[in-house]
């Protein structure tokens, strides 16, 4: 059987410019050929059943859980690509951590005050606070696209509540179970999220005693979009899942969790919500007072502002004395009159992003949108340009997904969200691979909530 591929994009993960399969996909392709369409169709059905059975879902308003669509054909990242990605991600994490420390510490002059002070995520009450080990960024998610030939480019940083690590794990797990044939002959880099996170918890709560710290995961509940992830992490880490009302700050300033066995002092709150003060009054002050470790802490979210993103290369040069290892998408500061004019004149080919957006909300990829939306976005950036940035649209890579009905491979745009952890001893772990998110056909927006798929992602040893 010869697998047909329809309408492949210009930069393909799967084939080179001459239409030849990239050598690192030879094993996967041969497994596809050998199993044949009937077996593949059955395996793909099985994978959907397992997704549903395991509750691998995300929640969409209003009141609807959706199973996470996955495509088991893996993305394979060559070792030399990964060496560059992991070094670049670690470098960026360190630079942002230094910037946030300077911002709330002795001051900084890398990012203009007009940007920082107009950012909702800048919190003056964190000024003068110094977190243990100067650790501001614990868990970091970064969105990349591949432009071909090992050129990976950063689209955005996620520092508040980066989510998706368990989607990466769960997709791998299901594909390994349902399609073991793909992995034959591959030597894939392993990673251990559980051990890395527990090590992080221990490093930020060194005085917790011989049994290690008591950690809880603070969730916004089962109607949060990433509740699957909260529950999965809770099981994985042995950390109880709590909601806001389950926590309180005691008279001794420590944080307590109400449990069936009585109230227990908590050493580490791994928070998966944004507005701490609304959910747990006093939690932030307890953190500032050193009474509890908070992951992620308070302060780093300023770098989630998509306008602050523009200065990260400068942070790397200034704070680390290095050149950025990874490029980032060329972006435009719309507080600047010249840049506004440029964005206005080139709107049709740009991406417009809300400074405060996350998870694909407030992202307009103009080349993929219709005329009516163009008019709306033009009006938005003319009337409130200070709330947006403009980014050059990149022609990034496609990968193939298996279409069991058409018995063919279909190209779709893919990105890569990579997760990294920095612990109290300054160690940075970048989990090999990441979450490959696949856009809907014809779209470049890859978020689950926008109808995309997840792919297992391997890094070759």
């Amino acid at each position: 059987m010869v697998m047909r591929t329809v309408g492949e994009g210009r930069l393909s993960e799967w084939r080179d410019d001459h239409g030849r399969l990239h050598p690192h996909y030879a094993g996967v392709a041969s497994a596809l050929e050998q199993l044949g369409p009937e077996v593949l169709a059955e395996r793909w059905r099985q994978s959907r059943r397992q997704v549903a059975r395991d509750g691998f879902t995300f929640y969409l308003d209003p009141r609807e859980y959706r199973t996470t669509p996955i495509d088991m054909l893996p993305r394979v990242i060559p070792a030399e690509h990964w060496a560059q990605i992991s070094a670049g991600v670690a470098q960026r994490l360190r630079a942002i951590n230094r910037f946030v420390g300077a911002l709330y510490g002795d001051g900084q002059d890398v990012v203009p005050n007009d940007v920082v002070y107009s950012c909702d995520y800048f919190l003056p009450e964190a000024e003068g606070f110094r977190p243990p080990s100067d650790l501001w960024v614990h868990i970091y998610g970064i969105d990349l696209v591949h432009l071909g030939d090992g050129r990976y480019v950063i689209l955005e940083d996620n520092l508040r509540v980066p989510s998706g690590i368990t989607y990466q794990m769960k997709t791998l797990e299901i594909a390994a179970r349902q399609m073991p044939e793909f992995a034959e002959g591959y030597n894939v880099l392993p990673y251990d999220v559980r051990e890395t996170y527990l090590e992080l918890f221990r490093s930020v709560a060194p005085d917790a005693g011989p049994d290690g710290p008591v950690a809880v995961i603070l969730t916004d509940g089962k109607f949060g979009s990433a509740f699957f992830e909260h529950r999965y992490l809770s099981d994985l880490l042995g950390a109880p899942l709590v909601e806001g009302p389950d926590l309180y700050v005691g008279h001794d300033g420590r944080v307590y969790a109400r449990t069936v066995d009585g109230d227990r002092a908590v050493d580490v709150v791994y928070r998966r919500i944004q507005d701490l003060e609304i959910f747990v009054p006093g939690l932030r002050d307890a953190y500032f007072a050193g009474k509890v470790a908070l992951i992620n802490g308070v302060g780093a979210e300023v770098a989630d502002d998509k306008l602050v993103f523009l200065w990260v290369p400068e942070m790397i040069r200034r704070y680390l004395g290095e050149e950025p290892i990874l490029e980032q998408a060329p972006s435009h500061n719309l507080l600047d009159a010249e840049e506004r004019r440029y964005a206005h004149e080139n709107l049709e080919r740009l991406v417009i992003k809300s400074r405060r957006g996350y998870g694909g909300i407030g992202v307009y990829v103009m080349p993929d949108l219709g005329e009516e939306t163009h008019a709306q976005v033009r009006a938005l950036i003319l009337s409130k340009p200070d709330e947006f940035i403009a980014q050059e649209t990149l022609d990034f890579s496609t990968h193939v997904v298996y279409d069991e009905e058409g018995e063919q491979l279909e190209p779709r745009y893919v990105d890569l969200r990579v997760f990294a952890v920095q612990d109290g001893e300054g160690r940075v772990s970048v989990f090999p691979g990441g979450l490959t998110r696949v856009a809907r056909a014809g779209s470049r927006v890859t978020n689950n909530s926008s109808g995309g798929l997840c792919k297992p992602t391997w890094v070759l040893a």
Binding site: N113, D114, V116, Y117, S118, D120, F122, L123, P124, E125, E127, E277, I278, P281, L334, L335, A337, R340, R341, H344, A379, L382, S383, P385, D386
Partner: protein, 304 residues
């Protein structure tokens, strides 16, 4: 010519001092209150900023920056629990008393100016498309920029009845037209929409009238390729008034860009904006937080 305040103009200039004070009350404790304040003197167009101060009660961290219009902004964030917030500012400016004398130019000459692309934009409150027909009629055969701006200013002054309490901060230009009444802000929005409909770059100006105690005032500035931004005040029916009529605090595309105080607070309760009042006096006057509080006591104005 409208000119920047040079040393040679000092004889035709006056110094004015202002005090602005606003109070908010909350039905339950506020945990943090985060606001951007735009009640500081601007530089330019016949006004020179000399000095300003800001206080809040409870005390706040004050973070100064400029927005994209060059307005001086101070973000004030209070994290002490409170049920009342007072924001007060004081400042001093030097103002030209000369009315600008400017040669008119043709509307055509605006085509090439960079300001045209942004300052003719539609906003939520100012939608020129809906006023296209009316604006064309009002301007009639006018070919001069100032002539056209004057037609619009006079028309709004003559057709919109000044009345408080029938409009609010969300009232759009075409709603003002339909109602036939409103306050200075509404008249400014309507004039802006009509000017933008015929391609005149123009902006909303917010400030204080120098001859009274009261609320903030709103007027319009339109762009002249040689002379820069020129004032037109539809509420008072005045074209090209001298800078000394106002203390100019902020400019923007519409009211939402110049709100004196805007922001968010975290509380289980609701907020009531009780009062805002401003006082402008000629000469150099020092004011304190106590003066600001005393001024508030005199305020019987409950803004919309």
């Amino acid at each position: 010519m409208q000119a920047d305040m040079g040393p040679g103009l000092s004889e035709q200039a006056v110094v004015a001092s202002y005090l602005y004070s606003a109070r908010y009350e909350y039905s339950q404790a506020v945990l943090h209150n985060d606001n951007q304040v735009r009640v500081f003197p601007r530089d330019g167009e016949g006004q020179q900023a000399l000095h300003y101060e800001i206080w809040t009660q409870p005390p706040s961290r004050v973070l100064p920056f400029s927005d994209r219009f060059g307005n001086q902004v101070n973000r004030v964030r209070a994290v002490e629990h409170h049920t009342q917030l007072v924001v007060a500012t004081t400042g001093r400016v030097r103002l030209s008393t000369l009315a600008p004398y400017v040669e008119d130019v043709s509307i055509e000459s605006l085509r090439e100016v960079p300001e045209s692309f942004e300052y003719t934009a539609a906003t939520v409150l100012v939608d020129p498309l809906r006023l296209f027909e009316l604006a064309g009629e009002v301007i009639g055969g006018a070919t001069g920029l100032i002539e056209a701006a004057r037609s619009v200013t006079d028309w709004v002054h003559g057709h919109i009845h000044y009345l408080r309490g029938t409009t609010d901060v969300t009232t759009t230009a075409h709603e003002v037209l339909a109602a036939g009444e409103g306050v200075c802000q509404d008249m400014a929005h309507l004039a802006l929409a009509m000017m933008r409909a015929v391609g005149l770059p123009c902006r909303y100006a917010s400030g204080l009238l120098t001859d009274q105690v009261g609320e903030t005032h709103a007027w319009v500035e339109f762009f002249h390729p040689d002379a820069g931004w020129l004032a037109a005040d539809p509420t008072r029916g005045r074209m090209l008034p001298p800078a000394s009529d106002y203390v100019k605090l902020a400019v923007g595309l519409d009211y939402t860009d110049v709100r004196p105080i805007s922001g968010t607070f975290l509380s289980k309760g609701a907020a009531a904006h009780l009062a805002a009042i401003a006082q402008v006096r000629f000469g150099e006057h020092e004011s304190s937080m106590a003066d600001a509080l005393a001024l508030l006591d005199d305020a019987h104005i409950v803004p919309r």
